[in-house]
Amino acid sequence: MTSERRQLIRRLFLSTSGFLGFSLLAFFCIVALCAPWLAPPPAGRDPYLMPVVEWSPNPQPPSSEYIFGVAGKRNIYYGVIWGTRSAFRVGITVTVISTMFGLLVGAVGGYFGKIVDEVLMRITDIFLAIPFLVAAVVMATILGPGLDNVIRALIFFSWMFPARLIRGNILQIKEEQYITAARSVGVNHVGIIVRHVLPNSIFPVLIQASMRMGSLVITAAALSFLGIGARENYADWGGLLNYARNWMLGGGGEVLRYWYMVVFPGAAMVLFVLAWNLVGDALRDVFDPRLKV
């Protein structure tokens, strides 16, 4: 059992996507942890607020001083480094909380069935029928700017996915014998869910969570990009891209002149999302029983 598990973990790390994904994640973790040394903030100021380095609002291409260039009077390099922390914060907080909540809803619905399930699933359907980005935009606008509000909005509109997954798993497992056996012995409901159902659903949920991590970071960035995400000048990749927006969209054929405003924060974001997707891919290859050949 343990040697089998160890072998699975070995396969997880040895697969191409697993290796690439975990390496990238490790890299981003190091960047996030070492941010104070990689991009020292001015003394006594909130490090997440990008300091003003230039007085001219015009963007400046990369130079020896500002290696990723300057946008909106701010050093892009500084924003990319400290933005890593924001990305982790948004991704992990939203994924963990929405997954927990989804687990709760899915577990309650799937386990009790009948009317409870019907009502919970109707509510889930309704939430799924709302255009996600629009709803998040409305909520973030109403709550006001700030990363915490983005997180709230994303949680509010993304718990349905784990809820559905876990419910499906529970319905499947419920059919199986050992639950009946456990119930006849007289274990209570919560005990059954915690001891029998959750361990069996943990891998599908993990796979989904790591895949969702990427898309959540993208959505959070999209909100910032539309100008309703993090507070202005907050170190956040989407916010950096928002600086680019006006120059790119208004710039006509000049778009190319401002490439650095898109390429550096964009690359950080793509690699970050890619890391999670690769990890999710590797997890699925190793743990999804349907794909075993």
Binding site: D125, A129, L133, V270
Partner: protein, 343 residues
């Protein structure tokens, strides 16, 4: 079948009711003073006790169920309200923009589904060989691209450098043609209307402007179909009936194209349907970046400006599309797969 469809349709009003409640409650978190801004058309009217008067006039301090009932009453009478963003009634604002979004979604769906299916099948047939790895990696990379980042790259390369795909919906000249009285609108989709009107120049103009957003949506979206097509094909190739087909002496081409593909395409067809639905609601960012007219960019602006009537109207519109679209997908699923019965 009939009862299945009828029962599913019964849930449509319930879903719409739920959507409107959620959005309504989000807006109720705003103070009456904030919400009154929606009714103010010019800054002069903001003076003095005007604000209080307007709040009273529109009943913004009433209990929530009265306010909701008032809105509902209007909707039932067919009045979705006035769109501040569109400067026209919400209903016509949506209907005027929908063809543009539909056009974009359909043109993107074609390459997404085609590419995803083709490459996914290829990937499965070359399972664990270099081609498979290459395709999977490029799909995951595409999947990891935020549409606004990739859209910028498309703008840089295909507009700035090559000058092929300009942003916008229509150029000034083409726009004048479309708005002129000689140009008859059949579908509202400019690519089709321009051809029906025999205006090739308009068609080329609008097609060039569509290419950028289509390219972006395709690259960001084909990975999902590829993944489904690949795993579905792999699963089917391991099935016993494939061995049976081979044991009959059939050519490998027949085994793959007839026996495997038809089975493998069942989940792909379902996901393709869902993709089209998702595309209809997923053009917000692309329309904003490429500066296009459409429901996506309309909703984005409305949401940012807290234009209640437009947001709730648009959300209900998407709700209808989603429910009907999913129903269509499920029904066609039963038509493709002889084992599925709807009841």
């Amino acid at each position: 079948m009939f009862f299945y469809i009828a029962r599913r349709l019964l849930f449509l009003p319930l879903t719409l009711f739920g959507i409107s409640l959620i959005i309504f409650f989000m807006f109720m978190r705003l103070s009456p003073e904030q919400r009154v801004a929606l009714y103010i058309t010019s800054p002069e009217r903001l003076r003095g006790d005007n604000v209080e008067r307007l709040i009273d006039l529109h009943g913004l301090r009433d209990p929530w169920h009265i306010q909701y009932g008032r809105w509902m009453g209007n909707v039932v009478r067919g009045n979705l309200g006035w769109s501040n963003v569109g400067k026209e009634p919400v209903y016509s604002a949506i209907m005027r923009r929908f063809p543009y979004t539909l056009e974009l979604a359909l043109y993107s769906a074609l390459p997404i589904i085609w590419l995803g299916t083709w490459l996914g099948t290829l990937s499965a047939l070359y399972h664990n060989r270099p081609l498979d790895h290459t395709l999977r990696i490029s799909a995951v990379v595409g999947w990891s691209f935020p549409d606004f980042v990739f859209g910028f790259f498309v703008l840089m390369i295909f507009y700035s450098i090559l000058g092929w795909f300009p942003p916008g919906t229509l150029g000034a000249e083409a726009d004048a043609v479309v708005k002129s009285s000689q140009f008859r609108s059949f579908t509202g989709m400019v690519t089709i209307d321009s051809l029906l009107n025999g205006r090739l120049d308009v068609f080329i103009d609008t097609a060039r402007r569509l290419a950028g957003p289509v390219l972006t949506l395709t690259y960001v979206g084909f990975a999902y179909i590829l993944r489904i097509a690949r795993s579905s094909m792999l699963e089917v190739l391991g099935r016993e009936y494939i061995r049976t087909a081979r044991s009959k002496g059939l050519e490998e081409k027949v085994v793959i194209n007839k026996h495997a593909r038809r089975n493998a395409m069942i989940p792909v067809a379902t996901v393709s349907g869902q993709t089209i639905i998702a595309l209809l609601g997923g053009t917000v960012i692309v329309e904003t970046i490429f500066n296009r007219v459409g429901i996506g960019s309309f909703m984005a602006t409305a949401a940012q400006q807290l234009d209640f009537a437009s947001v709730i109207g648009g959300s209900l519109f998407f709700g209808v599309i989603l429910v009907l679209g999913n129903l269509l997908v499920d029904v066609s699923y039963a038509l493709i797969d002889p084992r599925v019965r709807l009841d």
